[in-house]
């Protein structure tokens, strides 16, 4: 186990810089998820940590050792690839023991290391099969087994669940999390799926266009996004955003462009007159009150009801625990939970409210 540190890491492909100075501290044993839309540089960052990409500037440390120029095999890390990268010409057991065999470990010892790992992942009955003969989930487990057997300092996962179907993805998510709780190995996990990030991480790093947008515990990011990007990226359905400004006479009232008046409990240092964005999550609406919505679509999911509606001219989504029988065009009276409202600068995207 070891900590991982990125210090102002930059990456350029030719003249195009894709990472503009990324600094992240990862403590020993932490499960850190790098999340962001495709092209944000998260995979590149992971591959730089693995030693598969050259580091243009800055430093990457594993433990207290700078690894910038170390080849991958000397970094003592294991990686699970998106396509699993299992060797197709050798069996599951040989795949899992490949790194040990290269190290010259004896056959007996390899077996004694591979079989408990296989046991842990439920692969014992598949050890003699070839990768082709396995299902997607089994291949995924073999890839993890190959990583576990080596007992590395750090585990790297590069979008490991994106090739699986939705149901399997949920169960593998739990399995990976379980595995981490048992082995307590430092883990860096890359995904574009914010649900994966929210459910698995000790710490989430949200990346956007080659910079770190925010670092924090999952619920901190959810409850207090530092900027518009994180606010819009984390959470599903996404946060509703309405443009407008604070009322000049009452800073606890937000006036939208259409003249709707919405409540806000803690506007912080925000000053009236400036163009701002009022953000409220779908579940922070309650039925009954004095804000009027014009219903467009009602989507019952069973446990809750999603309502797509217009607030003035802005389309928003609300989630209610109640079942609602409104139809398109109906009016719906709601109350916004003024304490859960976020305020952002419209131009810079920075958080203004407390």
């Amino acid at each position: 186990m070891a900590s991982v540190t990125f210090r102002d890491v930059r990456k350029a492909f030719g003249s195009v810089e894709v990472l503009h100075g990324v600094s992240i501290d990862i403590e020993e044993g932490q499960f850190v998820v790098l999340v962001g839309p495709s092209g944000c540089g998260k995979s590149t960052l992971l591959r730089m940590l693995a030693g598969l990409e050259h580091i243009t500037a800055g430093e990457i440390l594993i433990g207290d050792r700078v690894v910038n120029t170390l080849p991958p095999k000397e970094r003592d890390i294991a990686m699970v690839f998106q396509n699993y990268a299992l060797y197709p010409h050798i069996t599951v057991a040989e795949n899992m023991g490949f790194s040990l065999k290269l190290k010259g470990v004896s056959k007996k010892e390899i077996e004694s290391l591979v079989s408990p790992a296989a046991e842990m992942l439920g692969l014992s009955h598949l050890l003699d099969r070839y990768p082709r003969q396995l299902s997607g989930g089994q291949r995924q487990r073999v890839a993890m087994g190959r990583a576990i057997v080596r007992k590395p300092q750090v585990f790297l996962f590069d979008e490991p669940l994106s090739n699986l179907d939705a149901k399997l993805r949920v169960s593998m998510r739990t399995e990976i999390k379980n595995l981490h709780q048992r082995l307590k190995t430092t883990t860096v996990y890359v995904t574009h799926d914010q649900i994966e990030a929210m459910t698995m991480a000790d710490k989430i790093v949200v990346m956007h266009d080659g910079i770190v947008a925010q670092v924090g515990a999952p619920l901190d990011l959810y409850d207090r996004p530092e900027n518009l990007f994180v606010a819009g990226f984390i959470g599903s359905p996404a946060m509703n955003m309405v443009t407008g400004t604070l009322d000049a006479n009452d800073r606890n009232i937000f006036v939208t462009g259409d003249g709707e008046r919405l409540p806000i409990a803690e506007p912080g240092d925000a000053e009236p007159g400036r163009e701002m964005i009022y953000g409220v999550r779908p579940e922070h609406f309650q039925l009954g009150g004095d804000t009027t919505l014009r219903v467009e679509v009602v989507e019952p999911t069973g446990s809750e009801t999603h309502v797509v509606a217009f607030l003035g001219e802005t389309e928003i989504v609300c989630v209610f625990r109640e079942r609602i029988s409104a139809g398109p065009g109906d009016e719906l009276k709601v109350t916004i939970d003024a304490g859960s409202v976020h305020l952002f600068d419209a131009k810079e995207g920075d958080r203004l409210s407390v």
């Binding site: 693995a50 030693g51 990268a85 010409h89």
Partner: protein
Amino acid sequence: MTDVPLTPRRPLLARFLESRNGLGLLFMLPAAVFLLCFLTYPLGLGVWLGFTDTRIGRTGEFIGLENYIWLFDDPIFWLSVYNTILYTVVASVLKFGLGLWLALILNEHLPFKTFFRAIILLPWVVPTVLSALAFWWIYDSQFSIISWVLMQWGLIDTPINFLGQPNHARASVIAANVWRGIPFVAISLLAGLQTIPQSLNEAAALDGATSWQRFTKVTLPLLTPIIAVVMTFSVLFTFTDFQLIYVLTRGGPVNATHLMATLSFQRAIPGGQLGEGAAIAVAMIPFLLAAILFSFFGLQRRRWQQGND
């Protein structure tokens, strides 16, 4: 009750043309005619001629195995068999080694990669006779550029007699064949290399493999199916080679470079002994069959290639 309309029985031809099998047969016909006329018939005729004493201008009679018994005692025939095997084995090994090496280089990130890939194909694109003529000049006993360069460097005093001495001639024709055959091997293996996902090499690098181990433990095993196909074809092409030898040496000096194909032609057409020439050609069949059988077993799907997906 409504009347069930009676459909009149349609003409046989119309029914035939509309049936699945009839139409299929019709579509197969051109290919079948082509195969029968240009492959089966000549092959059958060749085998038949081998059992006759046909000469040019005279229909022969069936003489059974007499041609083969005659060839069995013919030292020139056995020399050509030896030459053919030597030629095939040495040229194929060299083509494989150099072709694989080139393919590996071209698979790396090189500047002007596509340009080099195109250039590599040149020897394969140039008509054989043309390249053979070029080699004829390169190997000329007086004006050879190789001799000239070596003499300029002071390594030799007199020009090398490339095509005049048996072993020199053998080495020279093999070199020319290798030059011509490398593009096929290199480009095919390059195509094979590109089907190996980059992530496998990366995974092996993380697993602690050196670049040599990545080659022997990952790349090479995954390439074996392609290697088997490519080398089967390469061996077949080389074994039946004719043009290069015929332009460069015509089998000389003193039959030292006669391959079975050139000897067969020599005896049959300029020599007029069609029956004997055909018998030599037929004698190649067992060797070719052996090569095909070898590749058949070599090409069988390996266990790791089987399964779902």
